[in-house]
Symmetry: C2
């Protein structure tokens, strides 16, 4: 059955972005270090239109490949579509993902501003949802068919999905760095706290992939 | 070569004790749930003088067994020896570990109060160290010989050892619960932040064992 899942890279001290986010450091200071492990994988490179990278000798590659192949639609927060406040409703601003975004599926963007769908190259169409995360997930499930819905982020969007009891699986890509500050993932999860169960663990050389089932 | 290591159970949101620690809840609300996975293991039961529990069908059992067999001395903070403030310097107060503590090695307790060593049954002797964590580790290394020194906790003691650059290996027993508050492990680790490397991952059914090497 189709699942609603989220995967996100997280530091050992629980941050998904570093401190002092700014235009210069959109992921906060040190935040890019959360993602170094993924850039070198062939599954990631292929989604971004390149042809090299580490293959299955790195167990992290299968994690990314599996997540990509299983995903039929994506839900994301407004800041993940376009981090620059104020500008993105201009017709010219099509997000920061370039002409051919790496999703290759419908993407439902949470926002307070209505906007016509935006069809990009390579199979990605951005739909703009003003009715909140539950509505976005319903629409994404419809679009995904038998495939899974992936909550792409950011932290607040994943938190809302967990608090609403709508997330089935959380994959933490735990990176052995200490950021010391920034945006935390595992707070504001609602009351009572969500129940999680260890589903699977994959040990990569630079990230540990922890799959949790949520009740 | 002999290593200085620490192992500690930690919630998914980074707490090693729950919120609102009190006499009724010495580990904070929900904090005991961090340790349920260990109580049922035969390696833990044996160290506590019992004869049952889950064996090697549970991968967590080998984790605990290996840690116990490799440990030649323990360093712990004062609160881990005796959580009740004020009373513990009385001659009658021998800590909360009972007549036969589960360590079966020398244990070096950090304190501000000098006290004669305290020999317990089963091979545990408590030594009281007033010169700080570095001195305690030096003495523990001496006592451990070829075996490892284990920093038993609490959080502040492990943090001090990391900040002083004295910890070689950190084993996080990551439990899939969300405590929502309490005592965090991975803060106050000094500047620059420690560098960690994934050494090994063992997947237990109720805890994921993450071994990190520190530089």
């Amino acid at each position: 059955m189709s699942k609603v899942k989220a995967q996100i890279s997280i530091s050992l001290d629980g941050f998904i972005a570093g401190p002092n986010q700014s235009e210069e450091h959109p992921l906060g200071e040190g935040g890019m270090d959360l993602h170094e492990w993924v850039f070198k994988l062939s599954s990631w490179q292929q989604a971004h239109g390149r042809e090299s990278g580490e293959g299955d000798e790195n167990p992290s590659n299968a994690v990314i490949q599996e997540a990509q192949e299983g995903t039929g639609a994506v839900v994301m927060g407004r800041n993940m579509f376009a981090p620059v406040r104020g500008e993105w409703t201009e017709p010219a601003w099509n997000g920061w993902w370039g002409d051919e975004p790496p999703f290759h599926t419908p993407v439902f963007v949470l926002t307070h501003h209505e906007r016509e769908p935006l069809e990009m190259e390579g199979g990605t169409t951005f739909y703009f949802v003003t009715e909140g995360v539950e509505s976005a997930i319903v629409q994404a499930k419809e679009a995904a068919g038998d495939l899974d819905v992936s909550i792409g982020g950011g932290a607040a969007t994943i938190q809302q999905a967990i608090a609403a009891g709508l997330l089935d699986e959380l994959l933490l890509n735990q990176v052995p760095i200490v950021l010391g500050g920034g945006a935390r993932l595992l707070e504001n999860l609602g009351e009572p706290a969500p129940k999680l169960e260890i589903e699977r663990v994959v040990a990569g050389p630079e990230a540990t992939h922890l799959y949790y089932a949520l009740n």
